[in-house]
């Protein structure tokens, strides 16, 4: 069963949010959804680079009240 994993990386500075995402990704199963919340101003381009690098799917990327939310589908794991 695919799961939804929430990674709260708010108030963490670079490279904290991507590190936290990487750790969650290590444990994730194919098809899982990882939702990352971050306030680091560099997180938007960073998470796009991470998705590009790892070959997973970015379903959503938006900013609301200073919080960036990225929703990633784990598609690169077999």
């Amino acid at each position: 069963m695919a799961e939804k994993i929430v990674v709260d990386a708010r108030n963490m500075a670079c490279p904290g949010p991507i590190t936290k995402l990487t750790k969650a990704y290590r444990k994730a199963k194919p098809g899982d959804i990882i939702e990352v919340l971050a306030t680091d101003p560099g997180f938007k381009p960073d998470v796009q680079a991470w998705v590009q690098r790892t070959g997973n799917e970015l379903l959503e990327l938006k900013e609301e009240n200073g919080v960036i939310k990225a929703v990633i589908k784990v598609t690169a794991k077999k």
């Binding site: 963490m12 490279p15 590190t19 290590r26």
Partner: protein
């Protein structure tokens, strides 16, 4: 994308440990191998009796604000970031054998974060094709 990062850590001031930590952790997150060659004035900070790195005197006016900002961000120390990077990815820390000899340091004097004491030839050979960063 780089095949790997070969970081030569030479400088011993505190500000240089920030890019060391951030680049190492980022590469680890991306699954890029990192090999760090610790030499020069950076060596004492990789021993068991490591002192706290000090910021350059030249930028001392900026230091209080920087330290306060780092504290507010709950940023882990450079050492903890490297330790975490070693758990996350393929990161090896090598100490320069010449510098270790010159400073009278044996393997047992080095911090557990250090993987081995090696020479320049080994480092160059194992990082062939890597992007080289001198800090």
């Amino acid at each position: 994308m780089a095949k790997g990062l070969a970081i030569i850590m030479f400088t011993g001031q505190a500000e240089y440990f920030i890019p060391l930590a951030v680049l190492t952790q980022t590469a680890a997150n991306f699954g890029i191998p990192v090999r760090v060659f610790v030499t020069g004035f950076a060596l004492p900070y990789f021993t068991k009796n490591k002192p706290e790195p000090r910021f350059s005197k030249e930028f001392e006016d900026m230091v209080p604000k920087l330290e306060e900002g780092i504290k507010k961000l709950n940023m882990p120390s450079w050492y903890d970031i490297i330790k975490e990077a070693k758990e996350t990815g393929d990161v090896k820390i090598y100490v320069c054998s010449l510098m270790a000899e010159a400073m009278g340091l044996k393997k047992e004097d080095l911090d557990p974060i250090v993987d081995d004491v090696v020479g320049a030839a080994y480092f160059m050979q194992t990082t062939e094709g890597y992007q080289v960063i001198f800090i």
